[in-house]
């Protein structure tokens, strides 16, 4: 290739104290291509991109844009160099209109009116050129997440970005929205834009990129052509060992019903009905997976079952009604009823980050007689138990006296799992089991869940990751806007059908559209 690379990094290094976040990294991306950067959490992807966008200054190394050596001391310089960034968490002002967000920081003069008029015209152009349609006068808070992301892309294009960096762009999207995003990216590539896609999802890399770089522990371990690699190979490069990508499990042999939920309604403290009368049941020895885009009532469902939130309706556990509000409706009584809960937000609800691992391992069960020594807690005994559990769950580092905040996401999750699973519950509630967890640890956590099922426990799994739902569940239910959209057999459905249900397109319609599409 004779053209200068759109962007070229040479020997970039960056350390935060003793931690080497980026070590001698070099990449070269050709114009008009999509380059993927893949790696586990903490591999240094985001640091690298922050250097490129002027958030951090590299300790060493050079950046070349279109063959020109360029210094990027701040975001202003990055924008001037034609770099646009779409962050994982959008940088939009929620109660501003789309237009206001687009001109923010790129106004033409002291008064807004001319800038707004110009942006409106420009937006119409961009919409036509890249199929990026958004109502310019809509407030951001009224837009769907997918549309908010479009606004972010439009913001970059409005600033004449030639290089677009997207950081985990599909994390918050439904599968249909993700498909749309990829069509837009395709279109941008056709128009000659250069795109850098940061993700931990192997499938996305395989689907859309031309080339891919793998990062591990701050180093660039490989850069390959996408057409010449495979997901298994990439996973191995990421983790440094062979990884089983599919969950290995036997067909379920469900027994009697453990949990029955009828007409469950939850109204939150703002008076909004979040769960609108749902029914479900979970049997022994099966995993019921609940799919849905975040914020459609799944979290509330878990919280009610875990005794955190009040509700109306009926919940029967092993045939006994559980109280849904007032006295008796709390986590402690749920645990006594045989329900263990691995909450969605492990750092806020699953752990006390400042407490040590051994304290966290017994938390919630600390009043059990076996942990008492007269009036006091049997600390030595608990520490020994904790050590044993942490060894069994392969928590690294295996030090019970370390504070929870010092463990990585995956190891924090293992601590929570060790606590909940080891109590031998009849029912395990588990929300987003692998959010923010590395591939290697995902494999382990999935194995634990399946093992528990094979021991005849009932498992209710809530996840926004469709892959996870599809590979773990024995039955799949889809939630949308507080309703159950229907149930599917994982063997007889696919991402497309579930995706439509997650977007609120009803059962029958989903089937029809599938027949047509």
């Amino acid at each position: 290739m004779t053209t200068a690379p759109a962007i070229e990094l040479k020997g970039i290094s960056k350390a935060f104290g003793p931690v080497q976040a980026n070590k001698d990294i070099s990449i070269s991306v050709q114009p008009g291509t999509i380059h993927g950067i893949i790696g586990e959490n903490g591999a240094g992807k985001s640091t690298l991109m922050s250097i490129l966008y002027g958030f951090y200054k590299a300790d060493k190394g050079e950046i070349f844009i279109k063959g020109q050596k360029t210094a990027i001391p701040d975001s202003q310089a990055a924008i001037a160099a034609g770099i646009g960034m779409v962050f994982q968490h959008f940088k939009l002002v929620e109660n501003f209109t789309v237009l206001e967000n687009i001109i923010l920081g790129a106004e033409d003069g002291g008064l807004l009116r001319p800038s707004l008029a110009k942006a409106r015209k420009e937006l119409a152009h961009l919409a036509a050129e890249y199929e990026l349609n958004v109502d310019p006068d809509a407030l951001i808070e009224n837009l769907s997440v997918g549309h908010q992301q479009r606004v972010e892309i439009l913001k970059a294009l409005y600033r004449q970005a030639e290089i677009l960096i997207l950081d985990e762009p599909t994390g918050v999207l439904t599968p249909a929205e993700a498909d749309q995003l990829f069509r837009i990216l395709d279109r941008l590539r056709e128009e000659g834009k250069t795109i850098i896609l940061i993700t931990h999802k192997l499938r996305e890399i395989m689907d859309i990129t031309n080339t891919v770089s793998v990062m591990r522990r701050g180093e660039m371990t490989a850069t390959v052509k996408t057409s010449e690699t495979s997901p298994e190979h990439l996973a191995e490069l990421m983790v440094g060992r062979k990884v089983l990508l599919r969950v290995d499990k036997k067909p379920a042999t469900p027994g009697e019903t453990v949990l029955e939920v009828e007409k469950l309604r939850v109204i939150d403290d703002k008076g909004v009905e979040r769960v609108k009368g749902i029914d479900l049941h979970v049997r022994k020895g099966e995993i019921l997976g609940i799919a849905g885009v975040a914020g459609n009532g799944q979290s509330e469902l878990l919280e009610v079952l875990g005794g955190i939130t009040d509700a109306t309706g009926t919940i029967r556990m092993n045939g006994t009604n559980l109280p849904l509000s007032g006295k008796g409706a709390h986590g402690q009584s749920r645990r006594h009823a045989g329900i263990a809960h691995v909450p969605e937000d492990r750092q806020r609800e699953g752990l006390i980050m400042e407490y040590t691992a051994w304290e966290n391992v017994v938390f919630g069960y600390h009043l059990d007689p076996e942990y008492q020594k007269g009036m006091l807690m049997d600390n030595a005994g608990i520490q020994a138990t904790a050590q044993e559990k942490m060894d069994r769950f392969d928590v690294r580092p295996p030090h019970p006296k370390l504070a929870a905040k010092n463990f990585s996401g995956g190891n924090q999750q293992k601590i929570v799992l060790a606590r909940e699973i080891e109590r031998n519950p009849d029912l395990l509630l588990i929300g987003q089991p692998t959010r923010g967890v590395d591939i290697g640890a995902i494999e382990f956590i999935h194995q634990q869940i399946v093992q528990l099922r094979d021991q005849g426990k009932a498992i209710l799994l809530v996840s926004v990751e469709l892959d996870e739902i599809l590979s773990l569940s024995d039955r799949i239910a889809v939630m949308f806007d507080g309703h159950m959209m229907g149930e599917r057999d994982p063997a007889k459905t696919d991402e497309k059908e579930l995706g439509l249900m997650m977007a609120g397109i009803s059962d029958t319609k989903a089937t029809q559209e599938q027949a047509h599409g």
Partner: protein, 322 residues
């Protein structure tokens, strides 16, 4: 209540509402940029003292006003330093400023003037005197319009008109200029401003400084226009009432005008208990009337006026995330 009495009541309302309005707008700029400021009270108090002290010693109210704005800006800079640069707790910084001003003013006043923590009475050019608007005398005898113009609209110190003019100006700045757009954005989501390549720190400092200027005006008005000199704790909680009015006004300039006028009306009624008595036919304790603005403040803060959504990044120091 006859027409003249009503006009007098409203006239007092306007005079008493003016410092509240200035302080409320001061808070509006600061809080719209995401910096909570419970130090309005302290800045007003310090400005009241310095403006009176300088007006007395120089004989010029304008130099007094400058001194008032000056000290208010110094306190604003301290608040900015604590809450923007050092990312400290904004409530504590504001509280500290108020406490500092409360003690400092009396101490310096005693040292300079030895009148028990007051400044001497201001007279003549050392005060903002009422200005008569054009044709006020001529129109005075025209029925209805004449008295309305002469009694209510004309005859206020210049600062009253400045305060009123600041309402549309603030609206225009906030919603029609680039600065306003960025100011509102930095109070809602500073990360959006930062990633757009605009300095969060500069924006927030400018907002805090504008707040300082307006608090300076409010304090100077108290000591050199509403009254003729500084007395201990003369702000009497007006900074906090202005904050309540700001919430009442949902951080909007025009609503701020109406909210502060309402509080001004309550304060005016306190001075005329006879009006209430004749209107309601029962004798009302003066103390109760005096407590009304404060009761209203509590009621408003307790959230009885419907949902007021503060700027979303309010009170939080901005830390760039990794």
């Amino acid at each position: 209540m006859d027409f003249m009495t009503l006009l007098q009541l409203l006239d007092t309302t306007v005079r008493l509402a003016t410092p509240l309005l200035l302080a409320c707008l001061a808070g509006l700029y600061s809080e719209r940029a995401g910096i909570f400021d419970i130090g309005l009270e302290g800045k007003m108090l310090a400005a009241a003292f310095f403006s009176a002290a300088f007006a007395y010693s120089t004989g010029s109210v304008w130099l007094g006003l400058l001194a008032g704005i000056g000290i208010s800006l110094v306190l604003s800079a301290i608040h900015g330093l604590a809450s923007i640069t050092f990312r400290g707790n904004q409530l504590i910084s504001g509280l500290a400023i108020t406490m500092l001003a409360g003690g400092m003013t009396v101490l310096i006043a005693q040292d300079w003037f030895s009148q028990g923590g007051r400044t001497p009475q201001l007279e003549g050019a050392a005060r903002f005197n009422p200005i008569t608007l054009p044709f006020a005398e001529a129109l005075r005898d025209v029925p209805f319009i004449g008295p309305l113009y002469y009694e209510l609209i004309s005859g206020h110190p210049i600062l009253v008109y400045i305060a009123l003019a600041l309402v549309p100006i603030t609206w225009w700045v906030l919603f029609r200029t680039r600065f306003g757009l960025r100011l509102r954005a930095v109070g809602e989501n500073p990360a959006s401003v930062d990633t757009a390549g605009v300095s969060v720190v500069t924006l927030r400092y400018s907002a805090v400084m504008i707040c300082g200027v307006l608090c300076g005006l409010a304090g100077a008005y108290l000591a050199t226009a509403l009254q003729a000199g500084f007395v201990k704790d003369m702000t009497a909680g007006r900074g906090y009432i202005a904050l309540a009015a700001l919430i009442f006004a949902k951080w909007r300039p025009w609503y701020a005008l109406w909210a502060t006028l309402l509080f001004g009306l309550f304060q005016a009624l306190e001075l005329r208990p006879d009006l209430i008595e004749s209107a309601l036919g029962v004798k009302v304790q003066v103390q109760l009337l005096g407590a009304l603005p404060y009761i209203l403040t509590v009621v408003i803060l307790a959230g009885f006026v419907g949902k007021a959504i503060p700027p979303r990044a309010g009170g939080e120091p901005y830390v760039k995330e990794r």
